[in-house]
């Protein structure tokens, strides 16, 4: 049976980027379909009727939604190459815990750094740095969150980096100054071809966000 893989996505979405990296790590050929989130395609609405969100992976006609679930699926199906999750159950549990932590903590605090002003923005910045410090603590002296090898947690976190230029410019802060270890980890990830190719340029993301901020009355 032909292996047909389609990805419904939106170019700056950090959740979509996770899936792109996972597919690239596994060497899977797929068709990329860019969604206009203001005008969602019938295919997207049909494949993700519950959330109507991207990313959606469609494998041989069957839909998969929610990026952590999609990435775990990819890891289970294309299991002969580049394992993303550890094989030990305890290590797997730790990896799942940290991806869940990233999803609970990174997105909301970061979003507020560019959608709010004044006190609310300051509080968001503070929260963001606390999250980064916690992650730095977890990384420790390891090259990657997965240990010696790039893995599930690294893949789930690195996509946020293409938004850093935006956060730093809107929020007027510098991540490298506060969290050099974190940026060192970022640079190691960017040395991987799969990551470098999947991440859009930070300035391009900033241009896109600037247009949105103008609409929100923040510029």
């Amino acid at each position: 049976m032909a292996n047909e893989v389609v990805l419904l996505d939106f170019w700056p979405s950090m959740f979509g980027i996770r899936v792109r990296i996972a597919l690239a790590e596994k060497g899977v050929k797929y068709e990329y379909k860019e969604e206009d989130l203001k005008n969602k395609s019938p295919l997207l609405l049909q494949m993700n009727p519950v959330h109507k969100k991207i990313p959606v992976l469609i494998h041989n006609g069957r839909p998969f939604c929610e990026s952590p679930i999609i990435v775990q699926y990819i890891d289970e199906v294309w299991k002969d190459k580049a394992p993303l999750l550890p094989s030990d159950p305890y290590q797997r549990a730790q990896a799942r815990f940290w991806v869940d932590f990233i999803d609970k903590k990174m997105y909301d605090s970061l979003r507020k750094t560019w959608t709010t002003k004044g006190e609310e923005q300051e509080a968001a910045k503070k929260e963001f740095f606390e999250v980064l410090k916690t992650l730095e603590g977890q990384l420790g002296d390891k090259p990657f969150f997965g240990g010696d090898n790039f893995g599930y947690v690294d893949l789930s976190l690195i996509p946020f980096y293409c938004w850093f230029y935006t956060y730093e410019t809107c929020g007027k802060f510098n991540v490298e100054a506060e969290c050099p270890k974190f940026i060192a980890w970022v640079k190691r990830c960017l040395q991987r071809e799969t990551v470098a190719k999947a991440l859009p340029d930070g300035k391009k993301v900033f241009e896109f966000v600037s247009a949105m901020r103008t609409n929100l009355g923040l510029e």
Partner: protein
């Protein structure tokens, strides 16, 4: 080495109950401690420094936190009575519904529980819309896991007893049998399943607890604006 399994939970937490259920369903020997969250034990604080919450599973001294993570860990470590199917597509679906339960169902029902007046009406409407997805998913199935209890059943299991508690406190029926025949049947079947039926926290005690939790929201809404 002797296997040491310890579960930190509370008497009422639905998240702790999930972990309790899976350990019992698998026949794992374990100890549990019901924490007093106003006076958290050093063990809890040390085992879950990130969130300082229950449940925490401690297996041979190694802690695991977050109930859905615990469920998958237990399922992978003790292979009897598997909770997740073998097929990757079915596994993804099981994880999807478990996550939907926590992200959407729980949040929408909690809103219906704490909000007042017009806001409550809207929240109830939204909760019902969310529950319709569950009703749809149960078509042709006895449990969310199919013929037997699976990951999404354990994740959504809190509905089977807490809905009744919430409905009693707010005086509104959220899951009506006519509107949700499959979900109502599932709640009953799940509540009476072996292991599950012996584990429910006492109903009256839960009503008292949640009534007290709701008080400040009621009082705030009654304040003249």
């Amino acid at each position: 080495m002797a296997e040491e399994v310890k579960l930190l939970k509370t008497w009422s937490s639905p998240f702790g109950l999930r972990a309790f259920w899976i350990l019992k369903l698998k026949g794992v020997q374990f100890d549990f401690i019901d924490e007093d969250l106003s006076n958290k034990s050093p063990l809890l604080l040390q085992s879950n420094p990130v969130y300082k919450k229950v449940p925490v599973l401690i297996h041979n001294g190694k802690p695991i936190s977050e109930s859905l993570v615990i469920l998958e860990y237990v399922d992978e470590t003790w292979k009897q009575n598997p909770l997740l199917p073998e097929d990757p597509y079915e596994r993804a679906r099981a994880r999807f519904w478990a996550k939907f339960g926590d992200d959407k169902v729980l949040a929408s029902i909690w809103n219906a529980f704490i909000k007042q007046g017009k806001e409550q009406e809207e929240a109830i409407g939204l909760a019902i819309e969310t529950l319709k997805f569950l009703e749809e998913e149960l078509k042709g199935k006895r449990f969310f896991g199919g013929e037997k209890i699976g990951l999404p059943d354990l994740a959504l299991g809190w509905l089977a007893n807490l809905i009744g508690v919430f409905e009693e406190v707010i005086g509104v029926k959220l899951i009506e049998k006519e509107r949700f025949p499959l979900l109502s049947a599932w709640m009953q079947e799940f509540a009476e399943a072996p292991v599950i039926k012996e584990s429910w926290p006492p109903h009256e005690k839960l009503v008292t607890k949640f009534r007290a939790i709701r008080e400040p929201y009621v009082a705030a809404a009654a304040q003249p604006k």
